[in-house]
C-alpha cells in the first residue's frame, strides 16, 4: 500500500491508502470526537460528531472522518466554526435523550452544548448501534438488533437469543454511552424470567 501525505490542522500526516481520515488523525495523535466508532467494528457513520471540513481540488466539504478515505493532497480541518456548530447541535439533540451520560457531558463542555435546549425525550438511547454491531460483528450472536425506522427506531434484545447468550457475556454493556442498553436488557430479562418458554442460562 502506498503512502499518502495529507494535511490535518496544518500538519503533514503520513497515511496509508485505504485509511480513513479518522485513522490517519489517530496515528498522528490528533483527536476527533466519535460516538458510534469502535476499532473492532466496521465504520458506521451515524453519529456525525466526527464531521470535519475537507478541502480537495479547490472544493470545501463537510464529511464524516470515520468514513472518508484519505486521498492525495487532502486538507483536513478538524475544528472550524461550522464543524463546532454542527457538533454542538448534535450534542444538544443527543442530550435530550441522555442528559446524564458522561461521555456526552464531557463533549458538551468542550463545544458549549446546552443539555436543556430541547425538550427531554423518553428514550435514553442515542442509537449509536455499538451494542447491536458488536454483538453481530464481533460476537456473531445477534442477540440485540434495531427495530422500526425513522424517529421510531429503537434497539431491542431478542429474548430467544438473549436467554441463551447474554447472561455470560454482557460485553456490550461497557460500550454503551448511556444507561439505555442496561435498561433494555433488564426489561428483556424480566420478560424472559416471567415466560415459561425461556430459560436463563444462569439458572441451568
Amino acid at each position: 500500500m502506498s503512502e499518502i501525505i495529507i494535511q490535518i490542522d496544518g500538519r503533514d500526516v503520513a497515511a496509508r491508502e485505504g485509511m480513513t481520515i479518522l485513522e490517519a488523525a489517530q496515528t498522528a495523535g490528533i483527536t476527533i470526537p466519535t460516538l458510534c466508532h469502535h476499532e473492532k467494528l466496521e465504520p458506521y457513520g451515524a453519529c456525525r460528531i466526527c464531521t470535519v471540513e475537507i478541502e480537495n481540488r479547490g472544493r470545501t466539504r463537510l464529511v464524516a472522518a470515520c468514513l472518508y478515505p484519505v486521498e492525495k493532497d487532502l486538507v483536513v480541518r478538524t475544528r472550524s466554526e461550522k464543524v463546532d456548530r454542527i457538533r454542538k447541535v448534535i450534542l444538544e439533540l443527543l442530550l435530550a435523550h441522555a442528559p446524564e451520560a458522561t461521555e456526552l457531558q464531557v463533549l458538551a463542555k468542550e463545544y458549549g452544548a446546552d443539555k436543556d435546549r430541547f425538550e427531554k425525550e423518553s428514550s435514553f438511547c442515542i442509537l449509536c448501534g455499538l451494542c447491536v454491531r458488536y454483538c453481530a460483528e464481533v460476537k456473531k450472536k445477534h442477540a440485540v438488533g434495531f427495530v422500526d425506522r425513522g424517529t421510531g427506531r429503537e434497539i431491542s434484545f431478542i429474548p430467544e437469543i438473549a436467554s441463551r447468550e447474554c447472561w455470560n457475556c454482557k460485553e456490550c454493556f461497557p460500550l454503551c454511552p448511556t444507561e439505555a442498553l442496561q435498561a433494555a436488557y433488564v426489561l428483556t430479562e424480566a420478560l424472559i424470567s416471567s415466560s415459561p418458554s425461556f430459560k436463563l442460562e444462569a439458572e441451568e
Partner: protein, 150 residues
Amino acid sequence: MDNDSIDQIIDKQRGKPGSLIQVLMEIQDKNQWLPREALEKVSEKLEVPLSRVLRIATFYKTFKLIPEGRHKIHICTGTACHVRGAQRVLDTVQDLTGIKPGETDPDLKFSLETVNCLGCCTLGPVLEIDGKTFGKAAPAEIADELKKYE
C-alpha cells in the same frame, strides 16, 4: 398459517438475493400478518439471524406483526390529498370506526392505516378499502360505503 406453506414459500425463494424480503412479503400476502413463529421459522430456514428478520419486518410499514381486521382501510395522507382535505376524511373514518391509524377494532372488522401516496393524486382526497380506491372522498359517501362491510 401452517408450516408446510411457509416451507414452500421459503424453498421457492431460497438462495436468491433479497430472498428475506420476498419471503416475508409472500407470507404476509397469504396470511395477512406475520406471526412470531413464522418469523422464527424464516430465520432458521434462511439462516438469517432473527434480529435481522425482525429488523426488516419492522422496517416496513407494510409488514404487520399483529392480526389485521377483515377489511383494510387505507387513507392517503400524501401531499396532494393533504391539501385537498385528507384530514377530514381521516376524522370521519376515525369517528365511524372508533379506531386510529395503526389500530384494529376488537371485532377484527376494520384495520385503519394512513398511507403516503397511492399515485392517484388527481382524485384526492383518496381512500382505499380492501384494495378498492375511492376518489374525491366526501364524508357522507364514506359513511354510506362503510355500512356495506360486515
